[in-house]
Amino acid sequence: MRYIEPHAHMVSRTTDDYQAMVMAGCQAVCEPAFWAGFDRGSVEGFRDYFRQLTDYEPKRAAKFGLPHFCWLCINPKEAEDVAFAKDVVALVPEFLECPTVLGIGEIGLNKNSRNELEILEMQVDLAARHDQMILVHTPHLEDKLKGTRLTLDVLKADSRIRPDRVIIDHVEEHTVKMVLDEGFWAGMTLYPESKCTPVRAIDILETYGNERLWINSACDWGVSIPLNVARTGVEMRRRGWSAAAVEKVLFDNPHQFLSQNPRFKLP
């Protein structure tokens, strides 16, 4: 089975995870910038993180033969302090020319506050000015519905944003339709306790079709399963999907979306 892991926080994972992913058929991994589990103490802390994402982590992945790409931004969990967040956003363009940067992400909302919204709008503008693709994080649990609606409003209000170059991640049954109906791509995240599970992700695919959808493990420093995309492939086969249908969702779809950026090239 060939697959792409389009959303994983590999800086939090071990070399064993890299090895297991490659053994399971992973062809590329993409890492959006996100929260470290604690707030960084300075803008320079983000500069170091962006260096890690653009320089060190691709080298670490290369040791396992795995192409590594990344997305850059300040995540919504650290966007409540607007002045601080603006300084981090100002840092991002320095790194946009790095050869493995795919775009701006994962931006979005967390608690759906006005400050988060201001920083989201600022980063959508940043993406538009630099002609970058966008990866959007949608909030957790009870906040997801409202956060998805607010995010769609921001994206639709900016006429420079082309929906087919934006993926809205962490959709579930109550948000997937509104995302697809507006022409955006949608990502399903396979977490053990929140977001989606493999069986539900397959239900969503069987309900809404297999276009403009991808699945990811979003594995990070919390309880998460780095091989969940591959596991879902196994579950799809158990549910009667053909090998070609599995490959369409696990490999072709993310490949199609990500290849809109010419930097996304697989060996």
């Binding site: 967390n110 608690k111 506050s113 649990l141 009870e142 997801k144 519905l145 409202k146 109550h174 549910r239």
Partner: protein, 93 residues
């Protein structure tokens, strides 16, 4: 797939998860002190699920736990989410 095939594949898993929920509610009953809005939200969602005849039960269950309001809040109260919207019990009171 036929309904029979899906039952063969996933019935025991669904049955097991349902019993887990029943045991969780028993565990909460046995414990001391006050519960909070999360328990009420879970019971409301369970009631709706039991009565539902539509084929979008997963979406409806997620909606039962969701903040339905449209305006951004003034300030993020913290970073986490708890799984149910506190405003639902405020609205019911």
């Amino acid at each position: 797939m036929t309904r029979q095939q899906i039952l063969d594949l996933d019935y025991l898993d669904a049955r097991s998860k349902l019993i887990d929920i029943a045991a969780f509610l028993d565990r909460v009953d046995r414990a001391k002190g006050e519960a909070d809005f999360r328990l009420a939200a879970l019971k409301t969602a369970l009631r709706q699920l039991a009565e539902s005849t539509s084929s979008d039960r997963a979406a409806q269950t997620l909606l039962a736990f969701s903040d339905p309001t449209k305006e951004p809040i003034a300030k993020a109260p913290g970073k986490g989410a708890v799984g149910a919207w506190a405003g639902a019990s405020d609205a019911a009171n």
